[in-house]
């Protein structure tokens, strides 16, 4: 259904160009699109103009030979966001506005801060399937720094190079994403054997193949997908053996993220999603013994560190954890690990050191305890927060005199430790299942 002489192909729509109906109804129409952009919005009037312009320009510049469509999944904006999207896209690109079918409301429990976001992505995947899309881009409407190049970097690896999942990397300073560096990335890498950083939202590129896999995935409705959709999607791509890669997108600026309000909530959501997926993909991670690099599009840059890191507060958090949470940790951790944790409580702030081995043991034992359900799972995950603060304090103290290279070396060392100690996890996991 492409118009042959058009440089940039707009899918002929029946009438009007903006249709406010569930995108699933597309299956009844003979419409196809090579590239589908799913734009997730909720009260983003302040940023949406730049986002939509960036998307349209990106599509026109880098996908000029493809048929494209933007599908706006709006969670019930009160500030006229869908109208702005409609106005900007009219006549430029096929657009569909899909109002939120489920009641969206702010939630501290999800990493996007929006409940129902996973449902929107599911409907986007269904739309992509109906349109027989080759590329499916997920873009968040609260971005202030989206440029047309983002569309190229997220879409090109899929459209031209056969990738299935593109995870963005952003220009960050060395202590941004400490939960990713100290826990999520090393754990995911040890489990699934791909050196793919845990995603931090903003935008993704998916192949039509992966979109179809996500739709039929039986675990979609479970906690992992509901609470941390980004982590779950990444896990599915890794565990099911899809081609994954990184794309460096530069600076990421966005309006405040609701989901980052409280560290314990963020940690419980992100780590809980990984632990939860471990149960679903046990055969996949048990047979993985080493990790390999993934392709990178663009050159990674780091931002300079502009302010201090409050180490004393983190160490104080560990001390209090050792003092007050011991009865809970006794249930979760082995006596040997607990014995070593106790010594953390008496260390001075300046010389605080959390041994790598001990941290890996702690994470693996928390994963085992989560599997065994020895405590209410949310309590278990949140009780990891003081120990994570301890690891972060130790990580900063060990690397603060060096530069970004030293931080990267420390992360690499930790990842290798996670990989080397993986039998510690697999042996106990099997033993407990017997």
């Amino acid at each position: 259904m492409k118009a042959p002489n058009q440089r940039f192909t707009v899918i002929p729509m029946t009438d009007p160009s903006v249709i406010q109906e569930p995108a699933e109804d597309l299956s009844n129409q003979a419409v196809t699109a090579d590239v589908v952009v799913g734009l997730l919005t909720l009260n983003n009037a302040g940023t949406i103009e730049q986002v939509v312009k960036g998307i349209i320009e990106g599509l026109q510049r880098f996908f000029s030979d493809a048929s494209v469509m933007i599908v706006n999944y709006d969670g019930g904006s009160q500030d006229g966001t869908p109208e702005i999207v409609e106005r900007l896209a009219a006549g430029q690109v096929a657009i569909r506005i899909v109002p939120g079918a489920v009641g969206h409301y702010a939630s501290l429990g999800t990493d996007s801060g929006l409940l129902g976001r996973s449902d929107d992505v599911r409907r986007l995947c269904e739309t992509a399937q109906s349109l027989q899309a080759k590329v499916c881009l997920i873009i968040e409407g609260n971005l202030r720094s989206l440029s047309p190049q983002w569309i190229e970097l997220l879409g090109r690896p899929v459209y031209h190079d056969g990738m299935d999942f593109v995870v963005p990397l952003f220009r960050r300073h060395r202590y941004e994403g400490t939960l990713v560096n100290n826990l999520l990335y090393p754990l995911m890498r040890a489990l699934y054997g791909k050196r793919l950083r845990y995603p931090s939202g903003g935008g993704y590129g998916l192949s039509g193949r992966l979109a179809r896999e996500l739709i039929k995935n039986p675990f979609w409705s479970q906690d992992a997908a509901r609470i941390s959709f980004d982590g779950w999607m990444t896990t599915v791509a890794l565990a099911e053996g899809y081609q994954v890669c990184h794309a460096f997108l530069g600076v990421k600026e966005q309006d405040s993220k609701l989901g980052t309000a409280d560290l314990a909530h963020v940690l419980a959501a992100a780590v809980g999603a990984v632990f939860h997926s471990m149960e679903n993909y046990e055969p996949a991670w048990e047979r993985t013994h080493e990790s390999i690099d993934v392709p990178l599009y663009g050159a990674v840059e780091y931002a300079p560190l502009t302010g201090p890191v409050n180490i004393a507060r983190m160490v104080s958090g560990v001390r209090q954890g050792v003092r007050d949470l011991l009865p809970l940790w006794e249930v979760i951790l082995s006596p040997e690990t607990l014995g070593q944790i106790l010594t953390l409580g008496i260390q001075e702030s300046d010389e605080f050191h959390f041994p790598e081995n001990l941290w890996v043991q702690v994470v693996y034992e928390f994963a085992l305890a989560y599997h065994d359900q020895v405590l209410h799972r949310e309590h278990l995950l949140k009780s990891l927060t003081p120990l994570y603060l301890g690891q972060t304090a130790s990580f900063v103290l060990d690397t603060q005199r060096g530069g970004t290279e030293q931080v990267e070396a420390a992360v690499e060392s930790l990842c290798r430790r996670f990989e080397a100690m993986k039998p510690y996890l697999t042996d106990r996991w099997r033993w407990r299942d017997e």
């Binding site: 949470l325 009865p327 020895v374 949140k382």
Partner: protein, 238 residues
């Protein structure tokens, strides 16, 4: 004289034999009830242990934090053993009461019907107690973790207040359900609960008024500058 003495003796002996003959079957019934009760109780205990083990009841109790209060109460056995023992004694006592009822003593007349009539109250009270203890454990754990993560130095005190608040409420409900000193319990609970709330209000009003002021200012958006000053951390986690 001798005839009278003989008749009296015979009548006394005959009455005694008659009494014994009347009581003996009741005693036999009592012994039978006790033996059957023992057997049934033993069977129920064995069956309970098997079923609870199959359903990993002890692990569930550990997960819901039931083992901790049991240990604190000096009960070292797993919850499945405790429950099976409770059921053992319940079944045995039921049969024992039937036996006592069968003896038909004036002092124990209608004992079983009274017990059966009171049983729903006991069951309801036990359920309330179980739910109360479970809720107390759950919310104590949640409060403790939240307070520690907020680096509140009084985390354990907060958790204890939550635990004892819920337990106090539970015990009051249990005693009311059992009908034990209803009026006294309600009055005592009202006085204690009111006292605690008043003390807290006074404490908040006098002790942490600065914190409350800051919190309200922050809520109203006036404390943003101050918050910025306090936030001297460049760290982001995700």
């Amino acid at each position: 004289m001798s005839d009278l003495w003989r008749d009296t003796m015979i009548a006394g002996f005959r009455d005694a034999v008659m009494q014994i003959l009347l009581v003996l079957p009741r005693l036999l019934a009592l012994i039978t009830f006790l033996l059957v009760g023992l057997t049934m109780a033993w069977l129920v205990r064995a069956l309970t242990v098997r079923v609870l083990t199959a359903f990993r009841f002890d692990r569930l109790c550990e997960r819901f934090g039931l083992n901790q209060p049991l240990a604190q109460a000096g009960i070292k056995q797993p919850a499945s053993v405790v429950l099976s023992r409770v059921l053992f004694w319940t079944v045995f006592l039921l049969f024992a009461f039937m036996g006592v009822d069968a003896v038909n003593l004036p002092a124990t007349a209608n004992l079983i019907s009274q017990i059966v009539g009171f049983l729903p109250n006991v069951l309801a009270a036990a359920l309330v107690l179980l739910l109360g203890v479970l809720s107390a454990n759950f919310f104590t754990e949640a409060a403790l973790i939240a307070a520690v993560n907020a680096q509140l130095q009084e985390a354990r005190i907060v958790a204890s207040l939550v635990r004892w608040g819920i337990l106090l409420f539970t015990f009051a409900m249990v005693l009311t359900q059992l009908g034990i000193a209803k009026e006294i319990v309600i009055s005592a609970f009202s006085i204690t609960f009111g006292g605690v709330v008043f003390s807290l209000a006074l404490g908040v009003g006098l002790g942490i008024r600065h914190l409350m002021r800051e919190a309200i200012e922050r809520r109203l958006g006036r404390g943003k500058e101050k918050e910025k000053e306090e936030k001297i951390d460049e760290l982001t986690h995700l």
